[in-house]
Symmetry: C2
């Protein structure tokens, strides 16, 4: 196993995030990360399978926390509220890693392949959450719907938490708001929408077209 | 552009689905698909960029249909109901392709990399749907939540539509049910859950553990 390095993992993470930010994820090598951290490549590979894993190694413990929180939620509780309790627990655990989360998000946003990996991570979290709900006796469909719409609220809350400069609320508080908004939206208790304005006989103009 | 082949696209699709089912997706070559369809490889590549695109080329028109349906939805309509109208329109359009959808799903289920691609497709549909809602004046967060939870209902409904042997309802009907269930779930109007049974002092036993 080689020598023990005090907080090697944290130093490698920090070095990796800096380099991904400075030179880009794909331009950074493991050699450079190890060098910046003052450690060997061997040490890097004792902690991470590859340079992508620096960004995604947290997913397993996130999932464990989520499932455990659903299991531990008091009964009786509606499925969506068990999801809420679990997502709040995760949000609270993430609070102290806000800077890491922010850097990480910027790196992911800059790389389509990392965005894909992130999508897969969120889908796995959703499946694990649904499975935990089923163990509580929630029906097949209801479990999927509660879990997946909960994950949508989690993702939307996350963006608000790290994205808005003046944001002073904790992720947990934002997460609660986000779930409340999900409930309002799905109940149809949102201001009615209007149809988009400009139309031509052959379809409508889209001055600012999105893909 | 070469010779025009009557319904070449349909023949290629059919041949590809057969071969993916018989030999597996990764084991099938474009040469074999063209041969089975009685066409040339040249013709294949006039219709599809690669063998993956046989499975995913429908995504663009699905997205267009979805966005158009949101644009055309009557006003005033709550965001989630505009989503419902759009998803029902898509479900209706997919109805006549049930066999294709079923084969396609079996092939995707057998290949993790295709599952990832499918996730990305669904996420893109969700983004396009949210963007269309924003054009109707729906707020940033509400648009994402309505679109993403709607896509969850769409996915869950799809599985029920193609998955259950005795299912005689149309996808549109199932889609409506699925959205109704989403509303019930997020409002907390579902039977309360119970905590999982077996626990030990060190945590709980999981006789049928899921990953």
């Amino acid at each position: 196993m080689g020598r023990w390095e005090p907080n090697a993992r944290g130093r490698l993470e920090k070095a990796a995030m800096e380099l991904y930010g400075e030179h880009g994820f794909h331009q950074t090598t493991v050699t450079e990360i190890a060098e910046r951290a003052g450690l060997t490549e061997r040490t890097f590979f004792r902690h991470f399978a590859d340079k992508k894993e620096v960004l995604f190694s947290g997913a397993a413990s996130l999932q464990e926390l989520l499932v455990q929180a659903v299991d531990d939620a008091p009964e009786p509780l509606a499925a969506i509220d068990a999801v809420g309790v679990a997502l709040e627990a995760v949000a609270e655990a993430m609070q102290e890693r806000r800077d890491f989360a922010k850097w990480r998000q910027a790196i992911i946003a800059a790389n389509p392949d990392l965005q894909e990996r992130e999508l897969i991570k969120l889908a796995s979290l959703g499946s694990a959450l649904a499975a935990a709900l089923r163990e509580r006796g929630v029906g097949e469909t209801a479990a999927s719907l509660a879990a997946e719409s909960g994950i949508a609220a989690f993702r939307v809350g996350f963006e608000r938490w790290i994205g808005e400069a003046g944001e002073t609320r904790t992720y947990r508080q934002i997460m609660k708001e986000s779930l409340k908004e999900l409930k309002a939206v799905t109940s149809g208790r949102t201001p009615p929408t209007r149809t988009p304005p400009a139309r031509t006989p052959r379809g409508r103009e889209r001055p600012h077209a999105h893909r």
